[in-house]
């Protein structure tokens, strides 16, 4: 078996892992090693050929490959090492075990570990769509990989369930490549993804968006032949009288993402039941102090720019930890107030610094004020015209001497 040692070992070479690696190097870590299962770095951005990345971070509109390309270039300049085609099988407090076709089994000892495995797509089973099980039912990301990386067209007549960003982006992508997208069907009465994607991916091409609708049956024994859709009532129950059949050969599912945390749970790291990712403090440190986590493995983000920012924090903290220089004292749990589903980080160690609190609301709300309080002490307040579960909010607060923290969204 191969034994490798490094200061910081990063599991996953997507946008989160790359940003963490660059930041760890900049913060002084000597040996930074990324372990990546794919044959190249970049993660999911390799197949995200559409624009819309980098508006916050680089103030310009980049495609996925351009966005991660900048990080790969920087990582190379800084001397970050990468072990490609390597699947991690196990993570402990100080060891990452992976397998690789050329090297066999490798045991990597690290002073600090950063988990950046990203997320996976929810499937048909997670949302229980009855019907047959023919070929032609794909998650949107799988279809995206086949089309954008493998040059394989998945179908010609398409219905998309879920108005998440990947689903809408695939509606445009498949339309541009000659497929007919019959409809995007969304069970909620609001859009799951970003408004700009609705405009540029659906409206531009006259693709109907059917809100408060769902798929109640899939037909076809071999390949998808049609789907039956129906409107839903306020309890999300299908109204049978509205059922209608749409002929198609492909059903794409864009019904959400789940952090990929099998390695995390096997390492016995504490997982949040809401985000399904590890609980972290402002240093992106998990319940095992030498293990940090960042990106979609912690909570599903809608903008890669946020992932990069948060991951840089994780990389920097990991480097400090490896050098024995990371702050350590009792953390304060961040409470969720009115209309707040979760806040990341879940806890904050009081320190003389500013901390970005990322959070999502439970339901859309207009004319609100966002506040962060420490008991009666208001640390942050901002008005917003509207908030939406599909768009993550941020509040930056000073956390010196805090004894509690609560984020709430209330009517202004």
């Amino acid at each position: 078996m191969n034994k490798i040692t490094c200061d910081v070992c990063i599991v996953g070479g997507g946008p989160a892992g790359l940003s963490a690696a660059v930041a760890a190097k900049k913060a002084g870590a000597k040996d930074v090693l990324i372990v990546e299962r794919d044959e190249a770095l970049g993660g999911i951005l390799q197949q995200c050929i559409h624009p819309g990345f980098g508006l916050k971070l680089f103030k310009e509109e980049l495609t996925g490959p351009e966005y991660f390309g900048r990080f790969v270039d920087e990582a190379n300049e800084l001397g970050v090492k990468a072990l490609l085609n390597s699947m991690v099988l196990e993570v402990t407090a100080d060891t990452v075990t992976c397998i690789n076709g050329e090297l066999g089994v490798c045991e990597i000892s690290a002073k600090a570990i950063v988990l950046a495995m990203g997320c996976r797509e929810r499937t048909r089973a997670n949302i229980v769509i009855p019907g047959t099980r023919p070929a032609g039912v794909y998650t949107a990301g799988t279809a995206q990989r086949l089309i954008n990386r493998q040059n394989e067209m998945v179908g010609k007549k398409v219905v998309i369930l879920g108005s998440g960003d990947i689903g809408m982006i695939m509606a445009r992508r498949m339309t541009l490549e000659g497929a007919k997208v019959e409809a995007v069907v969304e069970i909620m009465d609001f859009l799951a993804g970003l408004t700009r994607n609705r405009v540029q991916c659906l409206d531009d091409f006259g693709i109907p968006l059917l809100l408060s609708h769902t798929i109640i049956d899939i037909k076809g024994n071999d390949r998808v032949e049609s789907v039956v859709i129906a409107q839903v009532d306020e309890n999300k129950k299908p109204i049978m009288s509205t059922a209608r059949e749409i002929e198609c050969d492909t059903l794409l599912l864009s019904v959400g993402l789940i952090p990929e945390n099998e390695l995390t749970s096997n390492a016995k790291i504490e997982i949040s039941p809401i985000t399904k990712g590890p609980k972290v403090n402002q240093y992106m440190q998990t319940s095992i102090k030498s293990v940090f986590a960042c990106g979609n493995v912690v909570h599903v983000n809608d903008l890669v720019d946020n992932v990069s920012a948060e991951s840089a924090k994780a990389g920097e903290s990991a480097a400090k930890f490896a050098a024995g220089k990371l702050e350590d004292s009792t953390a304060v749990t961040v409470e969720t107030g009115d209309n707040v589903r979760y806040v990341c980080p879940q806890s904050v160690i009081p320190a003389d610094e500013k901390v970005d609190l990322y959070f999502r609301v439970m339901k859309p709300q207009k004319g609100v004020v966002i506040t962060v309080t420490d008991g009666d002490n208001v640390l942050f307040t901002r008005k917003a015209i509207k908030v939406n579960p599909g768009e993550m909010e941020k509040a930056t607060v000073s956390v010196k001497d805090i004894t509690s923290l609560m984020v709430s969204v209330k009517e202004a």
Binding site: Q46, I49, P51, L62, Q150, L176, T195, R198
Partner: protein, 118 residues
Amino acid sequence: MTKEIICTVCPTGCTIHVEGENGNITKIEGFSCPRGKVYAENEFTAPVRILTSTAKIKNAKTPLVAVRSKTPVPKEKLFDCMVEIRKLELTPPVNRGDVLIKNICDTGVDIIASGEVK
């Protein structure tokens, strides 16, 4: 002609109502910031989009390389541009930023590589 335009400048997503003929706007309302007004005016008179796609590449580890329009192209030319991009057949190396089609469909915009294949 009248158009309802959903503004994408910020997450607010104002619905902006625009009226006019031949590119001359006679009425515009519903915006809540100056950037939104400019966006709606452009969307009404000459909407443009960044086009991204893939191009075939031979003798490489991967069958495709990602491409994009360097700057936005007129919306109504998207499908014409796709036809031209489809004709590309590249060979390595392709570097990020390489110009692959100059002035595609007389739009004045170049198609460049956004991915790379060494």
